[in-house]
């Protein structure tokens, strides 16, 4: 069961909209940290599930941030 994908995608992309003016490394880190600190695990699982399906519609920075985050949280990413 996942939350509405579109809503999660747009929320994740909104975060990228804020960080996109920072240098790429910092931006990716910023997005990843934000999602980790403020999204409950089921939301993260939801977005990871979308990521596993290719991550269509995700901002390139969000995509990178989620990949980084998924690598840090393999259990959560796998259960998605």
């Amino acid at each position: 069961m996942t939350l509405d994908d579109n809503r999660l995608i747009s929320m994740a992309n909104q975060i990228a909209d804020f960080f996109k003016s920072y240098p790429e490394g910092e931006a990716v880190e910023g997005i990843a940290t934000h999602i980790q600190k403020f999204w409950d695990p089921r939301m993260r699982r939801g977005i990871f599930a979308h990521l596993n399906k290719g991550g269509a519609g995700l901002h390139p920075l969000t995509l990178k941030a989620l990949q980084q985050l998924a690598a840090k949280q393999p259990d959560l990413a796998k259960s998605a």
Binding site: M1, T2, L3, D4, R7, S10, M11, Q14, I15, D17, F18, K20, S21, Y22, H34, K37, F38, W39, D40, P41, R42, M43
Partner: protein
């Protein structure tokens, strides 16, 4: 005991230069500028007086306060004569006694002699003065021309004006001008014919009067008198407590007869309000005894069933067993709770503790989610703390005041009055708001600049202002170099210097003339003390958090953080929204804004609570509702919040609630959320319990029980019962013990206890070893986070865009007389001012649609439709319409969408694309909701 503050006759003077004089043979030293009357009062000598009172400047009209000064001729008025070194003053002499008696005789000859039946009997300064001067005889008789037949004006729902008792001392007129700043009253005519009159000889209700009560407070006679006092009689004891309406946090004396409140009088020693009040706190407390209050617990299996009244035990056990069943069936994380910003700190703390410790989850949130969550995020990123930087009194030293997306005269009225006073003294004002709010131009106040930006373009505006400051060399370089992170500053400087942020470039988004933006920026940067005050017009946007950071950047760049008169100040909505956030109500934070993933912090709580907390953040309110619609979230405990009316996209909210299997609502009335509830736990008002509220200036104020809890238990006790039934027992015998636990677990509250608050009156956190008396101004020598951090704030237009189908922007807000969802104020006399929500629309937009003033219109967005009355308003700009959300029948949030702030999910209430058209019927939602509402409120009474 009835608390009666000393009236010193004239206002305090703060000069550091001291003056010594002799009064009645005794030496006294007071600050320069003090009146002789006040100096006498400070040594305990009361000079008779009628036209003076210490909330307003002296006027010198009654002459009763005459004194003799050695070496001076005549008998000068002590209220208007300032002290001088070496003066020898006599307040009681034979000559003065005769003079005073003559004056009183004249007053009394035109005054009805019905003292015994007068409602002010026992609390009338005229009566007192007649006694003080020893009046025994009125030689003129009572047959001359007089005002004894004057008609009473009873139009105001809360006080009467009985002109026959007026002594024309003009205290009311001056209070309205000086204290409230409304200028509603005048003295008509001169000499004997003179009378007090609201506006152009209107009645009070029809005049400019905002019913703040300052004139009633100032009136020495029964002329202006509270109706509750007329009905019930004078009080016999008082209890100092805190208003439960807005984030100003005014202190009041609840004036009582037994367990009945007869009057709420603003308390002079209240640090937030200094004896002033607004119509809500002062008068709109009748809801506390309203017949609609639910006083018995109720349960039902399905929301289509009628409610069944049950015992506390049955209700609590039912709720607990349902939560346990749900967690067993759907998993631990299928439940959560919402703490209330209306309840006390102690109650909010207990609810989050219940969620984390008894439910074992972090799915706890609070209504700050939908108002000031971006404030917490934005200010903690830049300054390192999630709260405003100043106390309210700081405004007295501001040279420039920038008000952004706030309407203090309506939403934070007492602070609005203090701000207006400073503006009348000459501080300059910049208003950044789509609407021409009252502050822009009102009696003796005119904004230097009003920047009427299009809703949704705040960040474009703040970047344009910053661009001017950076490119015109207005940055306070030495401050920045000393106090801020230079790497971040330089990066920010490069960012905002870019031409794309210039006011000329941003004009296409904001719609505001570039020249005005440039001038406003120069004005803001030109003074020593420039203060920003902001409200929900900043936070309730998809870029709410970005805007908060943008304002923090601007303040740091101009050196405006860390001293009195400056700062970045959120005007917080609800009475305890600051407190509920401080108390760990957010799903990712424990008390004092410490992240749940921080092991050391969690460990402390684990030890204190005897549990193992989950290190992962929980769901926020919108996420809970999404998860409920999605089927993974099934049960919720909601204390004192009405998400079905206050949260955006009502249909989505109610779909979420409907999808849950156990909704527990704890409130004083059946609110709209309760229509979807399975358990109703009757709540208590602020008059029925002990606790604390924390206002917008981080001030922890006492709430003291004045009457016993109507349903039998205070809210904190109910939470304890529920927690015990869930298997996690909490043991507190008084809220002070809860505060002791908070203080032990929260570094910024370390020095807070009920004892300390009682001693000090109130405490502003942080209060700890480093600041044992609390902290009025934050970040004085350095920022809480160390170096101030500039953040890059790229403007991203909202996705909510106008187009051919929805060509107008709806923005929502509040008005003075109603409060939030209106559950309280709708049940008081305040409906006299705002009986329904209306849609304000510009004449141009109205004409295009054939809408006339007063027509019923439909308003439609992509998510919903409702109908209400249209009012043509010049305060609006073309293309923007405005409404409030105080009435459930209108359901303004049926139209607002679920777009939200990127960082905090705070909803974008301030921007919804809509269309408005003439309509002669209610929307489908309104009709269906009315029927559902009625059905869901049936109650089967328990046998007595």
């Amino acid at each position: 005991m009835l608390i009666q503050e000393t009236d010193y006759g004239t206002p305090i003077r703060l000069s550091t230069k001291m003056v010594t004089l002799t009064i009645d043979g005794q030496d006294i030293t007071v600050p320069e500028g003090t009146s002789i009357m006040r100096a006498a009062a400070e040594m305990g000598t009361k000079v008779p007086k009628l036209c003076a009172t210490d909330s307003i400047e002296a006027f010198g009209s009654c002459r009763l306060c005459a004194v003799e000064i050695e070496g001076r001729r005549g008998t000068p008025a002590s209220c208007t004569t300032p002290v001088e070194n070496g003066l020898k003053v006599w307040t009681q002499t034979g000559k003065l006694a005769k003079l005073r008696r003559n004056i009183m005789e004249l007053y009394i000859s035109d005054h009805p002699l019905d003292c015994l039946t007068c409602p002010a009997n026992g609390n009338c300064e005229l009566q007192d003065m007649a006694g003080v001067v020893g009046l025994r005889d009125v030689r003129y008789g009572f047959k001359g021309s007089n005002h004894l037949d004057a008609v009473k004006d009873e139009s105001n729902p809360y006080f009467t004006f009985d002109a026959s008792k007026c002594i024309v001392c003009s205290r009311c007129v001056r209070a309205c001008e000086e204290v409230q700043g409304t200028f509603a009253l005048t003295i008509d005519s001169r000499g004997f014919a003179s009378t007090v009159s609201p506006g152009q000889k209107e009645d009070f209700l029809g005049s400019e009067c905002v019913s703040c009560g300052a004139c009633v407070q100032a009136c020495p006679t029964a002329t202006l008198m509270e109706k509750t006092v007329i009905d019930a009689g004078q009080a016999e004891h008082s209890i100092i407590t805190t208003c439960a309406y807005c984030g100003v946090g005014c202190s009041f004396k609840a004036e009582m007869r037994g367990t009945e409140v007869v009057n709420m009088v603003p308390y002079k020693d209240g640090e937030a309000n200094h004896g002033h009040s607004c119509v809500k706190g002062r008068f709109a407390w009748g809801y506390t005894t309203h017949q609609d209050r639910i006083t018995k617990p109720m349960i039902r299996a399905k929301i289509t069933d009628p409610w069944k009244e049950v015992s506390w035990e049955e209700a609590i056990n039912y709720a607990a067993s349902e939560f346990k069943r749900i967690q067993g069936k759907y998993g631990r994380n299928a439940v959560g709770g919402i703490t209330s910003s209306r309840c006390t700190n102690e109650e909010a703390y207990l609810v989050q503790k219940l969620v984390r410790a008894a439910f074992g989850v972090n799915n706890v949130d609070t209504c700050a989610r939908v108002c000031h969550s971006p404030t917490g995020y934005g200010l903690s990123q830049t300054f390192g703390t999630s709260a405003g930087t100043q106390n309210f009194d700081s405004v007295r030293e501001a040279d420039v005041i920038m008000v952004i997306g706030a309407n203090p005269t309506d939403a934070h009225p007492v602070f609005g009055s203090h701000m207006k006073k400073r503006l009348r003294e000459g501080a300059k004002l910049i208003v950044v708001d789509p609407r021409r709010i009252d502050l822009v131009k009102s009696a003796h106040i005119k904004a230097s600049y009003h920047l009427p930006l299009k809703p949704g373009t705040n960040v474009a505006m703040i970047n344009a202002l910053a661009h001017v400051i950076v490119t015109e060399g207005l940055v306070k370089e030495d401050y920045v170099a000393e106090r801020c992170d230079m790497m971040e500053f330089n990066r920010w400087r490069d960012f905002v210097s870019d031409k794309r942020h210039a006011p000329e470039e941003m004009e296409k988004y904001t719609g505001v003339k570039a020249a005005d933006v440039r001038e406003a920026a120069r004005l803001y940067a030109s003074v020593k003390n420039a203060a920003i005050y902001y409200g929900l017009g900043v936070t309730e946007h998809s870029q709410g958090s970005t805007m908060v950071m943008g304002m923090a950047n601007l303040a740091m760049a101009t050196g405006n953080v860390g001293h009195i008169g400056a700062g970045v100040n959120p005007l917080r909505g609800q009475n305890n929204v600051q407190g509920s956030c401080d108390m760990g109500s957010f799903p990712h934070e424990l008390t004092g804004y410490r992240h749940i993933s921080t092991d050391a912090v969690r460990e402390e709580f684990n030890r204190a609570w005897g549990v193992t907390l989950d290190p992962e953040p929980g769901l926020r309110i919108p996420n809970m509702l999404d998860a409920a619609v999605d089927g993974t979230f099934k049960g919720i405990y909601i204390q004192g919040e009405d998400i079905a009316q206050s949260d955006p996209n009502t249909k989505h909210v109610t779909a979420g609630l409907e999808a849950m299997e156990c909704v527990v609502v704890q409130d004083i009335f059946l609110n709209e959320t309760a229509n979807y509830a399975h358990v109703f736990l009757p709540g208590t008002t602020f008059l029925e319990k002990d606790g604390t509220f924390t206002n917008a200036e981080r001030r922890i104020n006492m709430v003291r029980q004045a009457i016993p809890p109507v349903p039998g238990y205070a809210d904190w006790e109910v939470t304890m019962m529920l927690s015990k039934a869930l298997g996690y027992e909490m043991k507190y015998s008084h809220p002070s013990e809860i505060m002791d636990e908070i203080a032990a677990l929260t570094p910024t509250f370390k020095g807070v206890s009920y004892k300390r608050i009682d001693e000090m009156g109130s405490i502003q956190w942080p209060c700890n070893d480093a600041a044992p008396n609390g902290t009025p101004t934050m970040h004085i020598d350095k920022f809480v986070r160390g170096k101030g951090r500039f953040m890059i704030t790229e403007f991203v237009p909202t996705e909510e865009k106008v187009g051919p189908r929805f060509p107008l922007i709806l923005t929502t807000g509040r008005i003075l007389s109603q409060y939030n969802v209106g559950a309280q104020t709708r049940r008081t006399g305040n409906v006299a001012w705002h009986p329904e929500d209306i849609l304000e629309i510009h004449a141009f937009d109205a004409e295009q649609r054939g809408i006339r003033d007063g027509d019923n219109v439909a308003i439609v967005s992509r998510v919903g439709e409702t109908s209400l009355k249209a009012v043509i308003s010049e305060r609006m700009q073309p293309g923007v319409v405005y409404t409030t959300f105080h009435h459930f029948g209108t359901g303004a949030n049926v139209i607002t969408t679920d777009f939200s702030d990127w960082a905090t999910n705070c909803p974008e209430y301030k921007v919804t694309a809509v269309e408005v058209r003439l309509s002669n019927h209610q929307s489908e939602w309104q009709r269906e909701n009315a029927l559902f509402r009625q059905a869901s409120r049936r109650i089967t009474k328990a046998a007595e």
